[in-house]
Amino acid sequence: MIEITDLRKIYRMGNVEVRALDGVTLNIEKGEFLGIMGPSGSGKSTLLHMLGLLDLPTSGRIVIDDMDISRFTDYEKTMFRLYKLGYVFQDYALVPDLTVMENVSLPAMLRKDRTEEQTKKDSFSILQKIGLCDRRDHLPRELSGGQQQRVSLARAMVNKPDILFADEPCANLDTENSRVVLELFKEINESMHQTIVMVSHEDWHKEYFHRIVRMRDGRIVSDGINDAPKTTA
C-alpha cells in the first residue's frame, strides 16, 4: 500500500547539514497498525510528515496505492489528504471556534461525493463511536485533553481514509486517557481494517502495534512484527 524507497530529508542550518531522514526504505501493508518508535530527533515525525504529504523529501520516492506522490501538484496533494488520509496531531489541532460537531464535519463538508445529510449522519455516527455525542455542541476548550484527542481522531476518521496517521497522539495525555485513545485506535484498526501509522516514543505503546519500526539518527534500526499485540477485550 505504501512503498518508501531511499527517502532522505536534509535540513540546512547555515553551513550545518542535518540529516533528518537518511535513506529510509519501508513498505506498509493495508490494514497494518504500524508503530514508528525511537528517541527524540530520530526522524520518526519527519517520516510521518513525508507520508502525510505535509512536507517534501529532499530525495527518494513515496508510492501510495501505486501513485507516486512526488508528482502531485499542490491541489492534488490537498485532495489526496482530504480523500485518502486522516491525521491525528499531538496537540489535537482542533479549530477553537468550531464546535465538536463542526470540527468533525469539516473534512466531510468539503468532499464533493457527500451530501449534507450524509455528512451529518457520518459525523454523528463517528461521534457516537468515540462516545462524545453528548458533547457535540461544545467548543474544544470545554473538553478535557483526552476528549479533544478523541474528537481529533473522529475528525481524521470521518472521511473513512485509506491511511490514518497519528503523530504522538498521547504525548499530552495521562496514562489513563492514553489507554482510552489507544484502545480507540486499536478498535478502529480491527473493526474497520484501517491502516494506521503511529509515531510514539512511549515504550508501553508497542503492545498495541502489529509491527514496530525503530529509528535512530534518521535511519531504520529495526523493523519487526509484534508477536503478541494487545487484542481488544
Binding site: L54, D55, Y75, M79, F89, V95, D97, L106, L110
Partner: protein, 406 residues
C-alpha cells in the same frame, strides 16, 4: 472553487467572528465605520457649502438667468420693452429688474454707506425669497413710497456698543423708525423703515430696498434702465433653454445673458474646484488609511492563526478555502462597518441640518446624496476586500510545516 468550498469558507469566517475576540471584532467595525464617516464627512460638508452658496446665488443674486449690461455700459436700456419681451417668453416665470445707487444712511449719530436697490416688489417676490426672510415688519408693497426695508446687519443691535460691533451698523434701527438717506447725486430723503430682513447672504443683508417709484423720484425721471434683470424659469424649464430663448429673441443685443451655471463657474467655480481637489485628496487619504488599518488587522489575525491555517491545510482544506475564510471575514466586517458609518453620517447630517455651521457668507450643512453613500460604500468595500485578501493570500500559500510550527 465550488459551492461547498465557499460554504465552508463562510462557516469558518462566521464562526471566527462569532466566537473569536468580540472586542477586536467591534473595534474593527468601529474603525471601518469611522473611516467611512471620515471619507464622506469633508466632501459632504464642502458639497453642503457649495449647495448653500449656489442656492443663495439663485435666491438672492442671479435667479436662473441674469441679464447684465453689455461690456463698457452701465445699464441695460430700453427696460420696459425688454421686460415685456422676456416676460412673454415660454418658460419664463418672471423677470425682475434692479437699479442700484450708492447712498449714505444717517440714523441718530450713526452714518453708514449703503447700496440702495430699487425693485418692483411684485416682480421681485416671484424671483427672490427675500420677502420670506423678514425678521421684523413687512416687505415692500407695490405702491409704497417713502418706505424702505434694510438688512439686519445694517439695522444693528442697540445692546452692542459701536466699538464692539463686528461690522458697522446704524446701531439699532427698528421698524417704524425714520432714517435719512443721502444719495450720491445729492438727493436726500427720510424713509420710514417698513421691514428688516435677514437672508444669511451677505451682499443682500448689507443692502437696502426701495420701490422703483421711489428711485424714480431720486433720479428725477422715469427709469427705463436697470443694472441687471434676474429671470426665474418656470419649473421644468432649464436655464440653458431660457438663455437660448433670450438670445433668440434678441435680448443679447441689449445685454449679456448668462445662466446661473455660467456665473457660478466664473465666480465661485474656482472655490468649488478647490473643494473638489480637497475632496479627492481627502478620499484618497481615507481610502489609504482604511486599507492600511484593515491590512494590519487582517495580517495580525492571519499571523495569529498560522498554526491553525497549517492544520486546516493538513486535514485537506484547500488554500483557496482558507483565503476566502479571511476574505469573508473582512467582507462581513466591511459591511457592518459601512452600515455603522452610514448611520453615523446620517445622524450627523440630521444634526447639522438643524444646527448648520453659519458664517456671514454661507451656512454649511452635510449634503449627502444616496449616490454619495453608495459610491463611498463601494470604494470602502473594495479597499476592505483588497486589504483582507492580500494577507490572506500570502498566508494561505505558506508551507504546511512552516505554518504549523508558528
Amino acid at each position: 472553487m465550488g459551492q461547498k468550498e465557499l460554504k465552508v469558507a463562510f462557516l469558518l469566517a462566521l464562526r471566527s467572528l462569532q466566537r473569536g475576540s468580540r472586542s477586536s471584532t467591534l473595534l474593527t467595525i468601529l474603525i471601518i465605520g469611522m473611516c467611512f464617516t471620515n471619507m464622506i464627512f469633508l466632501p459632504s460638508m464642502f458639497s453642503g457649502i457649495g449647495q448653500s452658496i449656489t442656492q443663495q446665488l439663485i435666491d438672492y443674486e442671479v435667479s436662473n438667468v441674469l441679464v447684465s449690461p453689455k461690456s463698457g455700459e452701465q445699464y441695460i436700456t430700453d427696460l420696459d420693452s425688454t421686460l415685456d419681451l422676456i416676460n412673454g417668453m415660454p418658460g419664463v416665470q418672471r423677470a425682475s429688474p434692479q437699479y442700484s445707487k450708492g447712498a449714505t444712511f444717517k440714523y441718530r449719530q450713526r452714518v453708514l454707506g449703503i447700496s440702495v436697490r430699487a425693485i418692483s416688489p411684485a416682480d421681485e417676490k416671484e424671483v427672490s425669497p427675500v420677502y420670506t426672510r423678514m425678521v421684523a415688519g413687512s416687505y415692500l408693497g407695490e405702491g409704497d413710497t417713502g418706505e424702505i426695508i434694510i438688512g439686519k446687519p445694517i439695522a444693528g443691535d442697540p445692546t452692542v456698543r459701536q466699538e464692539d460691533e463686528f461690522q458697522a451698523s446704524l446701531g439699532g434701527v427698528r421698524v417704524g423708525d425714520s432714517v435719512t438717506v443721502e444719495y450720491g447725486n445729492g438727493y436726500t430723503r427720510d424713509y420710514r423703515v417698513k421691514g428688516i430682513y435677514l437672508t444669511g447672504w451677505s451682499p443682500v443683508d448689507n443692502a437696502a430696498f426701495v420701490t422703483w417709484t421711489d428711485m424714480e423720484q431720486v433720479e428725477g425721471k422715469t427709469l427705463d434702465q436697470a443694472n441687471y434683470i434676474t429671470v426665474r424659469a418656470k419649473p421644468g424649464y432649464s436655464e440653458q433653454f431660457i438663455k437660448n430663448e433670450l438670445l433668440a429673441y434678441g435680448v443679447g443685443v441689449t445685454g449679456n445673458v448668462q445662466t446661473m451655471t455660467d456665473l457660478l463657474s466664473k465666480s465661485v467655480g474656482k472655490v468649488l474646484q478647490s473643494f473638489a481637489i480637497i475632496n479627492a485628496v481627502s478620499l484618497v487619504v481615507s481610502v489609504i488609511i482604511t486599507t492600511v488599518v484593515l491590512f494590519i488587522v487582517i495580517t495580525i489575525k492571519t499571523l495569529n492563526s498560522r498554526k491553525q491555517i497549517g492544520i486546516l491545510k493538513a486535514i485537506g482544506v484547500d488554500k483557496e478555502v482558507i483565503m476566502h475564510n479571511y476574505g469573508f471575514q473582512v467582507i462581513i466586517l466591511g459591511i457592518l462597518g459601512i452600515i455603522l458609518g452610514i448611520f453615523i453620517t446620517l445622524v450627523l447630517a440630521a444634526y447639522m441640518s438643524v444646527h448648520p455651521i453659519v458664517t456671514p457668507e454661507w451656512s454649511a450643512y452635510l449634503y449627502v446624496t444616496p449616490m454619495d453613500l453608495v459610491i463611498n460604500s463601494v470604494i470602502l468595500f473594495c479597499a476592505a476586500a483588497v486589504a483582507g485578501y492580500v494577507p490572506a493570500y500570502q498566508v494561505s500559500r505558506e508551507e504546511i510545516q512552516t505554518a504549523m510550527r508558528a
